[in-house]
Symmetry: C2
Subunit: 308 residues, 2 copies
């Protein structure tokens, strides 16, 4: 692999090469798309168990959505306006046999056959909590809802940074309820997650952050999001200490999703929401970077927390 | 929901309604796309543990691929020729700000904005073993390979049959090696899986089967596949006993993938392959149908096997 002149890119490539050599990641020929080894998966499962343990007292509803969601629901969020470059739209072949022959002919001539496809009724899930909001339309029970989610999410941002995958898992806890409930949830998890990362030996620190909104209008939205203190991330050095990686992210959405999907609190107000998301692959990558590629040799206190 | 005149479709709708009422499945507004409850997931995890137990003596390599794969690798299989109607092609927005404004304008006018997107470098995974073959190009170690896989796969076939999901998980064991090794693997797992399904109280039986190849040419391929005894399924009554559902499927691919991805055995022949796939959602649906929606009340011998 050619090594970049840019030291950060070179650090990404170097860590990626190490992960592939150690057979923790299996390359696919597409940047940001990798298979995971059994060892890699085991670390994710054990970290997830730790998350479950820390969330158990909240008595969350557990929901697991597949990696696709209803296109109509996707369009009720503003993702197409704000992150169009990251979206994944699922298309399929819906023609008859003669259309199929024409498509195969294009494929054989190395022409663009993808325009022979039509959009299906689904999109790839951009964040683990997106499918929850349309499933919450109506009036919340008294006290609101706390939901435990995990799914593979898609972001079209090919990169040699092993921590910037196109398809990865988010484990989330979402609070739907009053503004106070949403903020309390955000604050609880931000502090708890920081403690959890420290307990597994990661030098995590919270930073105010913003989403990578698209275009010039996006820069205004990013500034507003920071001013309003809506997004915090926990960042950890992964490939390089110069540019630490967000491994956990919290968002207070105000009443954004409550409005979009007509979700009301039991006293009739528009629901507010907040979420915490654990980037499971990123946490595994940070742990392998910090403690080495052999979990058997990790520090005793980390092994104890992860029940290794 | 309107009830179909066709008794099988009516049985599908009726079981789906029961699953939604019991909150085991969470509807999304798209046929075949559902969230799963914690109880549903727990059954899948426990059945998977049972699979892992039965596969342990094979000492498989564990690999977990995400739900997307390299488009170029997809095109090295013949999926686009044989199952174009089931494919999932991932498209995204790759334009500039003015193109974005034009796309949003189309969206607001309820015109087809999806043609403003371009094909990305990835496709949705059609079967859990597809990403393995391109990762196996070259010469196999002596004795070949046995690989344990699981991923979410996509099939564009919207249906009210709760067992025909568009996005579901396959747990697979794949054998790459000589024809004898591939057939032995297929035979071991077909027999083992039948015993496993019986042990959890499911009335499974093996049947010769064929894949749903597209078009008129596909009918010939299906007949050939049956004549050559290449595909067996284990079928179980789920929504209706009149039309039992395949919950496990085995395929002997001959040297199809060996040729497509240049996989050789250690003695230099083109590798053969065989796989067994457990349809995890279908197995859970069959168990809920047979034993009821409350796992705590399932028969003692089933609870023992699943460590419930």
């Amino acid at each position: 692999m050619c090594i970049s002149d840019d030291p950060i890119t070179a650090a990404y490539q170097s860590y990626l090469d190490e992960l592939v050599d150690a057979r923790l990641l299996i390359p696919s020929g597409v940047d940001g798309v990798y298979g995971r080894s059994g060892t890699f998966e085991d670390i994710i499962e054990r970290f997830e168990d730790y998350v479950t343990e820390k969330g158990a007292h909240l008595k969350p509803e557990v929901m697991r959505f597949p990696p696709i969601m209803n296109r109509k629901h996707y369009l009720c969020t503003d993702h197409i306006e704000t992150f169009p470059n990251l979206m994944g739209s699922v298309h399929s072949f819906m023609g008859k046999e003669k259309d199929h022959l024409a498509m195969i002919d294009k494929k054989q001539k190395h022409e663009d056959w993808s325009k022979c496809l039509d959009a299906t009724e689904v999109m790839l899930v951009p964040a683990a909590c997106y499918p929850l909001y349309p499933a919450s339309t109506g009036t919340l029970p008294q006290g609101g809802r706390i939901v435990d989610l995990r799914t593979y999410v898609f972001r079209h941002e090919p990169s040699v940074d092993p921590a910037r995958m196109q398809s990865f898992r988010q484990r989330e806890y979402v609070r739907l309820g009053t503004p106070e409930q949403a903020l309390e949830h955000r604050n609880y998890w931000l502090k708890t997650a920081e403690g959890m990362l420290h307990a597994v030996g990661l030098d995590a620190k919270p930073v105010v952050a913003n989403d990578p909104f698209f275009g010039r209008g996006g820069r205004v939205m990013a500034a507003t999001q920071r001013e309003q203190d809506l997004k915090y991330e926990l960042v950890v050095p992964v490939a390089t200490a110069e540019k630490p990686t967000a491994v956990v992210s919290t968002n207070y959405h105000l009443d954004h999703f409550g409005h979009a999907f007509d979700i009301k609190t039991s006293d009739g107000n528009v629901a507010h929401s907040a979420c915490i998301g654990f980037g499971l692959e990123r946490i595994a990558l940070a742990l392998f970077r910090k403690h080495g590629f052999e979990p058997a040799t990790w520090p005793a206190e980390v092994k104890k927390v992860l029940k290794l």
